[in-house]
Symmetry: C2
Subunit: 405 residues, 2 copies
């Protein structure tokens, strides 16, 4: 008998009918002899609606209260799913993040999990029941409700899989897996049957929206295989697991893109040690997630530092950079929200030189200018103008012939 | 410096604008030198919407899950109100029933408060903050979320006023107080400036919807004066407090009516001791709130027992009665959902005979048949056909000339 964690996102729980469909699937999984722990997100657009309502009420939104507000959505989902299961004769019981024992730090809106107690979940399982847990939320060591940030429900699912020593963690969503590129942009893109954690990390980090970075990191660190699949078609999706050393790695796995970031450039910075450290420490203190950082060659003793941040953090980043500018002797701070990032990911890149060159050439042939470049052992990312990014994905995809089997 | 508990119901929190209006009122109360604890209900029709959604999802609705579902609404309200207060520069913080330390028994949907700890509320007040507490909900001794039943947010407000030794408990609603009859039916009905707890109890028990019975009981037992008033006009409303022995009591205070009950009749019951006890114990075990009970004279050794229950409990009541019928030798169980109750309430009735007779005569003169009668020391209630109840209220109101000052 296996223990499976099944996570259902907001699109999987769009209306009353969907709750019955999901309950039926959970019930079938049980009948096949598995124990199941379910993790749910808020229904459909609930979270967006709550955010909009809060904006209507007040411009001042203490983070603690925003967490309290947003955590309401999962409570609705989880109790409705238990009712749907009860309607099928499946004995289930709902648990909030707090009741499930998901203990976090006190960083509201982006809390990190410190510990998963899970006592009540183990009791439920032992009693033959299906625990249904609110994703995205926990309780802080100060006894306040916290939320885990974007993709938080995936993180909840993985954390529970680790704590309960589950055999698999299934992430159900509205797409049928991870693709070699966004099928809306590259119609011939294909579903990837298997990815290593490292590839999935780089795909998530570079704009692949199927899984959030943190949940993949968590799964890799704790060796929990993930199965990303569709709750609409139920067909097998993409397995994300340890790299299989016996297999030859494909050189390039996927082309991803991301239009959710903006670029900040700090110009005329004196080329002295410690300047970058102060800037990025100050950004970290505001919990801004800086993605790419590029510093150009020093000219006449000054340098320009450019970095990308999520669009939502742009205002905070500009505040931080502007406040520091006089102190670090920078001449100017510029914001640019018209950028996009295109990336190429593949575990085989490590041993195949020349991949970057092919990528740059394909962009150049299409007349697309590269504004920033950053690389990891298995990824190359380029910042381009946002209005050229779809074309960039297409030319790179075709340059590497990614649809070939 | 006084401590005031202010409770705002769902109609007071209908949209984003209303949150700002309420926040402004709380802020003014503070500026006048008072400490304030706020209790909120779910916004507008939120609770009804959630109940409807649950019905769409499943016919089987475990009470524990229904409580989890319905408790989400107050969380949304309280965090939005804290944001609105923060927008006005008022330092506030939200607390769920659990965080406020409202400990209940395990009777889901109708939980009773066992204890109010309130430690975090006292800490907040000591730090100069405004605690905003979710009404209607608590946490059971089994660590599950519970709800307090109809009017539960009023009960929360009174319980907090008691625990925190508040000087007053203000119940804000969409009407400007308690009236001598429903103004929609009797246009000349007037607002009552002051009522005794006993009168308010009988008004609440007989269909006056402004305050729920339990919260009035709680306030009376703990000597907390209530001020029922409008959050739309802010004018002084109705004070509910201890009876003032120095004043002459009006004979009759109000005419109330209630169309939310149904009648069950068990016919041909053998006239033996213990039969009624078994029936009403079985109903109590299902937590059906039986209101009126009438048993007629014994004819040929059998009797009929009629009782009224809330419409929502009719199905459960019929189940209980039908299951018991063979055992207690009853011949038939009949349900009637076409009834209504009209009542006359007044503390002065105790010392003025003849009030019931005048009431019955006024109904008889209008050709309205009385199906059941029950009385308390300060109330007379009659069950009539639902389609005659408005007329019944009008003829009784005029018979007692209740608009006279």
């Amino acid at each position: 008998m296996a223990l499976v964690v099944q996570k259902f996102g907001g699109t999987s729980l769009g209306d009353a009918d969907r709750f019955r469909v999901i309950a039926d699937h959970v019930s079938r999984t049980r009948r096949r002899g598995n124990d199941v722990v379910v993790v749910v997100s808020a229904m459909g657009k609930t979270t967006d609606d709550l955010v909009r309502l809060a904006a209507e009420v007040s411009a001042v939104q203490p983070a603690r209260e925003l967490d309290m507000l947003l955590s309401a959505g999962e409570r609705v989902s989880m109790s409705l799913l238990v009712m749907a299961l009860a309607g099928l004769g499946v004995d289930a019981v709902s648990y909030t993040g707090s009741q499930a024992g998901i203990i976090t730090d006190t960083t509201h809106q982006k809390a990190r999990i410190i510990e998963v107690k899970g006592d009540r979940l183990r009791e439920s399982l032992a009693a033959g029941r299906v625990p249904v847990v609110a994703g995205f939320q926990g309780v802080s060591i100060d006894r306040d409700v916290t939320t885990l940030g974007r993709g938080g429900s995936d993180t909840t699912a993985v954390a529970l899989a680790v704590a309960l020593k589950a055999d698999a963690c299934e992430i159900y969503t509205d797409v049928s897996g991870v693709f070699s590129a966004d099928p809306r942009i590259v119609p011939e893109a294909r579903r990837l049957a298997r990815l290593s954690f490292e590839e999935m990390l780089d795909i998530a980090a570079s704009g692949g929206r199927v899984l959030a970075l943190r949940s993949v990191e968590f799964a890799r660190n704790h060796h929990v295989p993930l199965h990303v699949r569709s709750s609409f078609t139920w067909e097998p999706g993409t397995w994300v697991a340890e790299e299989d050393p016996s297999m030859e790695q494909p050189i390039v796995t996927a082309v991803t893109h991301d239009v959710s970031e903006a670029k900040v450039t700090v110009t005329g910075v004196p080329d002295r040690p410690g300047i970058a450290a102060r800037l990025f420490r100050a950004l970290a203190d505001r919990t801004v997630n800086v993605d790419m950082i590029v510093q150009n060659m020093s000219l006449r003793g000054t340098t320009d530092i450019s970095f990308t941040v999520p669009m939502v953090d742009l205002a905070a980043s500009m505040e931080v950079a502007n406040a520091l500018a006089p102190e670090i002797g920078a001449s100017e701070v510029l914001a640019d929200d018209g950028i996009a990032k295109v990336s190429l990911v593949g575990a085989g890149m490590r041993t195949h030189p020349g991949v970057s060159a092919t990528m740059f050439e394909s962009l150049s042939d299409a007349g697309i200018n590269i504004e920033m470049i950053s690389t990891s052992p298995i990824r190359v990312s380029c910042v381009v103008r946002a209005d050229r990014v779809e074309e960039a994905v297409q030319v790179i995809y075709r340059a590497f012939d990614l649809s070939a089997p």
